[in-house]
């Protein structure tokens, strides 16, 4: 043990304030604590040293060993004789329903399903696409642009008298709705229609028509 003087000198060199406090201990212990402590510690140490499982009950506690054969609780007379008859047997438990695991769809099955769905989708798309094209073709036919030559070919087949009768009977010289004539080709059309008519015939026609 280092001398108290050395300890005091050391602490005074570090802090005179702490050195002046002195060895003050404010804590207290219960009365008689240190008188009982050795006995308590010996018992505790021995108890910790013992393998309780291997120790006979008579060694551990003779008192408890002697009380073992003295039952405290009582049962009614003849209880055990009637017990078997009075037992309420449990109802048979129905067998649990068989559980069938649903087959989990593996990766391949899902892939096949996706392919089929894709094919159905593509087929439907093409089908509707085709349908739309046919419709457009039909519409195109109904409202087709009739070329100048077609008109010319058709009108040459019709006799002049019929043409004149038609023109006299109708005020509307418009072209039917279903026939679309390219506006840019009107002048060409007129030229075509007059191709086979000579200038003399044309003058005669004008003289006759506009004589009045």
């Amino acid at each position: 043990m280092e001398s108290r003087k050395n300890i005091e000198e050391e602490i005074r060199s570090i802090s005179p304030v702490v050195a002046d406090l002195g060895l003050q201990n404010p804590h207290s212990v219960p009365a008689g604590y240190f008188d009982q402590l050795p006995g308590q510690l010996l018992s505790a140490a021995k108890a910790a040293d013992v393998n309780v499982d291997e120790m006979a009950e008579t060694e551990l506690s003779p008192l408890l060993a002697s009380l073992k054969t003295l039952p405290a609780y009582r049962v009614p007379a003849g209880y055990f004789d009637e017990l078997a008859k009075n037992l309420v047997l449990p109802q048979p438990v129905p067998a649990p329903a068989k559980v069938i695991q649903m087959k989990r769809f593996g990766y391949r099955q899902m892939l096949a399903a996706a392919v089929v769905a894709g094919l159905v989708f593509l087929g439907s798309w093409f089908f509707f696409l085709q349908g739309n094209n046919d419709e457009q073709d039909s519409m195109a036919m109904n409202s087709q642009v009739i070329s100048d030559k077609t008109i010319h070919d058709q009108t040459t087949k019709i006799p002049d008298a019929e043409l004149l009768t038609y023109l006299d009977s109708t005020e509307d010289f418009g072209i039917p709705d279903e026939v679309i004539i390219d506006p840019e080709s009107r002048s060409d059309l007129a030229s075509l229609m007059l191709t086979d008519i000579s200038d003399e015939e044309l003058e005669d026609y004008i003289d006759q028509t506009y004589a009045f």
Binding site: V18, Q24, P38, A45
Partner: protein, 183 residues
């Protein structure tokens, strides 16, 4: 008296079955107060100190047969007591899931909860100041200041170099001075 029997003789008597109980009792009587106060200063509360002391002497009972006498019995006992105190504080910290700083605050509260606590008295201020120190630094201060333990022996108890212990003690004293002057 137990204090008159030297440690070497006590250890020899303990190793003999017929004198084991007597030797153990003598060892307890010789060192109970020193070890108790060392533990008590670490854990503060008397009931906690009593629990730790029980553990300390159970370990002494079980381990004294294998004591190699490469240190003094006194140093060996202090080493067990310090480790048990630190383990106790560590367990307390884990059970309460408190941080290190909260643990020191918790010990300060335990000091204040003492039935004799008087904040105006310097000795209680000192105890509060000591509780502000980290655990190991607290142990260094206790062993040097109260138990007057040489640094060489303290080095064996705490498994720390003498130089580190001197530095730790110096810092501890300064922190205590600062606390007392500013509170």
């Amino acid at each position: 008296m137990a204090e008159d029997i030297d440690d070497v003789s006590l250890v020899k008597q303990f190793k003999l079955p017929e004198s084991r109980d007597t030797a153990f009792t003598s060892i307890v009587k010789k060192y109970q107060q020193k070890l108790y106060w060392h533990v008590r200063r670490m854990v503060v509360d008397h009931d906690d100190a009593n629990d730790v002391i029980q553990n300390v002497f159970i370990k002494v009972w079980k381990g004294l047969d294998g004591f190699r006498e490469d240190s003094t019995l006194y140093t060996w006992l202090y080493r067990i007591a310090t480790n048990e105190s630190l383990s106790f504080l560590e367990q307390k910290k884990r059970k309460g899931t408190v941080s290190l700083s909260d643990n020191e605050a918790d010990l300060s509260e335990t000091v204040r909860a003492d039935k004799d606590f008087d904040a105006s008295k310097l000795e209680w201020k000192l105890q509060l100041a000591i509780q502000q120190l980290p655990e190991k630094q607290r142990a260094v201060f206790h062993l040097r200041y109260y138990d007057e333990m040489p640094y060489a022996e303290m080095s064996t108890v705490l498994d720390t170099s003498e130089g580190a212990l001197k530095a730790s003690y110096h810092i501890a004293v300064k922190k205590i001075e600062d606390f007392i002057l500013n509170h």
